[in-house]
């Protein structure tokens, strides 16, 4: 059995500044060793530890989709020691990727269902992975209606703009893009917070409709009652959590909340499950 | 604590006293060189099992 703490060596293939304020960059990695990409078989919603020897590791959601081959992609917010270092790295630099880790969005179980994807800020990464997966020609027909509500602080902070534009034009996905506020007169999409937009744009709940949510705590907090109001039952609201993690494999103990280990038993939980877990912040 | 006395020195130098600064630095450098390399408080590669 392989050492689960050992990262696959990768090379940085491209770095794209993802937002106007340069706080987010998208890194595309290619695996150095043949066969590692196959071993790193992942599903949307999973994460990986980006491992920079000499600096440490950080858990980051996988932004690329399993349908995209030849690379793996992460969008990283500059915040701590490791991410700051990563933001200063160059194309061609060598580092490691360890994973895939955690569970994924239960897309297999959602076949035949309508899905509304609600995301905000830089938590959109694994949702991007999900959308790309769902829209793949081989997959699209297996799912019902797809709605996407995505909010950012302002137009400059929107991730994956080019892709959003393309998706916007398609007729097999309903995009509802919003910003908190903008003084850009040419902004043609929604203005307002995600919960507000969800209230007016999200489809009404029915037996066949599921919501997938990922975003900052405030957005989650205020969107939950909106979904309640729309009639979504809690087993149909799927959420992704984050916590401080180190090992990513449920052993080091720090991400323990209730009887779950966020890194292994999660990060994806239904709201129904979360009701039985302490919200440590309180 | 076990660090040799000569390795620590306090001096009072005004920003205008450039020559004194140079002299003090020279003198401290000399005296530290005389003591040789510091074996204490120098962390070699971290010792872990």
């Amino acid at each position: 059995m392989e050492n689960p703490y050992k990262a696959y060596p990768v090379r940085i293939d491209s770095i794209d500044v993802a937002t106007q304020d340069k706080s987010l960059r998208t890194f595309k990695f290619v695996f150095l060793n043949e066969g590692d990409e196959e071993k790193f078989a992942y599903e949307s919603g999973q994460f990986a530890e980006l491992s920079i020897p000499g600096k440490g590791e950080i858990p980051i959601g996988i932004a690329s989709s399993p349908t995209e081959k030849g690379f793996v992609k992460f969008t990283v917010f500059r915040t701590g020691l490791v991410t700051n270092h990563l933001h200063n790295m160059k194309v061609g630099d060598i580092m490691g990727v360890r994973g895939p880790l955690g569970n994924s969005y239960p897309l297999k179980d959602l076949e035949g269902k309508n899905i509304v994807i609600i995301g905000a800020g830089f938590a959109f990464t694994t949702l991007r992975s999900t959308i790309v997966y769902l829209l793949d020609p081989k997959n699209r027909s297996r799912f019902g209606n797809i709605d996407v509500i995505y909010g950012a602080r302002n137009p400059g902070m929107i991730l994956y703009k080019d892709e959003l534009t393309v998706w916007e034009k398609r007729d097999d996905i309903n995009m509802h893009i919003t910003v908190d506020s903008t003084d850009d007169p040419s902004w043609t999409y929604h203005t307002g917070f995600v919960p507000t937009i969800t209230e007016t744009q999200a489809p009404k709940a029915d037996e066949n409709t599921y919501a997938i949510m990922c975003g900052p705590p405030m957005m989650l907090k205020f969107t939950k009652p909106v979904l309640d109001k729309l009639g979504y039952s809690h087993d149909k609201i799927i959420m992704s959590l984050e916590n401080r993690m180190k090992c990513g494999i449920g052993i080091c103990g720090r991400c323990n909340i209730g009887k779950e280990l966020i890194c292994k038993d999660g990060p994806v939980f239904t709201l129904e499950q979360l009701k039985h877990m302490p919200e440590e912040d309180t | 604590m076990g660090v040799e006395p000569g390795r620590l020195q306090f001096s009072w130098i005004s920003s205008a006293e450039s020559t004194k600064f140079v002299d003090v630095v020279k003198q401290v450098t000399e005296s530290v060189k005389e003591l040789g390399p510091n074996e204490k408080f120098i962390k070699k590669t971290v010792k872990v099992s």
Binding site: M1, P4, G80, E242, I251, C252 | -
Partner: protein
Amino acid sequence: MNETLSIRANIMKVINIDKEKWASGVESLTSTYRLFGPVKEDDSHNFKELKKGELPDLAYGNSKLSPKSAVFPPSEAMFTYSLDEKNENHHILNDVKKDYSPRAVLGIRPCDAKAVSLVRMNFDTKEYRDPYWMDAFEATTFVGLACDNPCSTCFCTSTGCGPFSEEGLDVLLVENGNAYIAKALTAKGEKLMDAAGFKTAGDDSAIAAKKAAAEAKITASIETDKLSEKVIMDLYDAPIWDDISFSCINCCTCTYACPTCWCFDIQDENKGLSGVRMRNWDSCMTPLFTMHGSGHNPRSQKKQRVRQRFMHKLKYFLDKYQKGIMCVGCGRCVQQCPVNIDIRTVSKKMNDYVAAS
């Protein structure tokens, strides 16, 4: 349980070890085993790797720190790496060569051995096997020493363990006058007895009475009987935590001394252009444990951290594995806590708590 018993019944062998032959037996072990055992330092004992010719000091109550370090050192190297871009393999993790040759922990107390088997559930899961802990564990033969004189803070009999408990042991030694009665409980244990040259068949009929006598000496207990029926969120929200946590100074004494605490941190440390990725014991008592990179800390308050520790030991673990609480009743935290926070008191408060309906 039944399954374990039957395996034991097949292997179990009783051997008589004359105390006069103990030293030479231990000596013979050194050719095949790295030996760990209790060593007296100042006024307390701790488990250390024994030097050539050194005998474990078996005249002891229990060690100050638990013997978990024999398989889970406070600091342990995981990988090395080079940061020198001239080096072909720079920024790539290299395995660290480790000595997983057979080792034996001599004189471990039954509570600490049971703790090892509890902790194993964390390091050996169906999805992942922790190579460092498991390789060390598999290399180790645990030779236990039954407790004839438990401490006043011992409460092992109420944690599903006991002074003569065999769980997690390969050999159980019972002191009997000038001899040890040795029960070889596993194939590993038999092998070690062979290697030591301990072959004289023995008689374990004296054990039952000694066991009963030792158990009778344990008067302390922990109340846990109603914990499994409690609802996590009720206990979590119970108004008991302010009082429980008030005195806590958030040091790591309880977690470091505890044989069932396993949390660790992963750190890279560099010297020049090379470095080591290692793991170090960590503790849920420190704010850093849960501090996010953003500076946000979901458990920034002392009360939250104290609650986490006791909830994890007494409720989350119980619910997750259905194998009892994550405590073997060794009493170290009770003895060593600088402010006398007592897990037995806490457990009682949790056990007695009834949520207002």
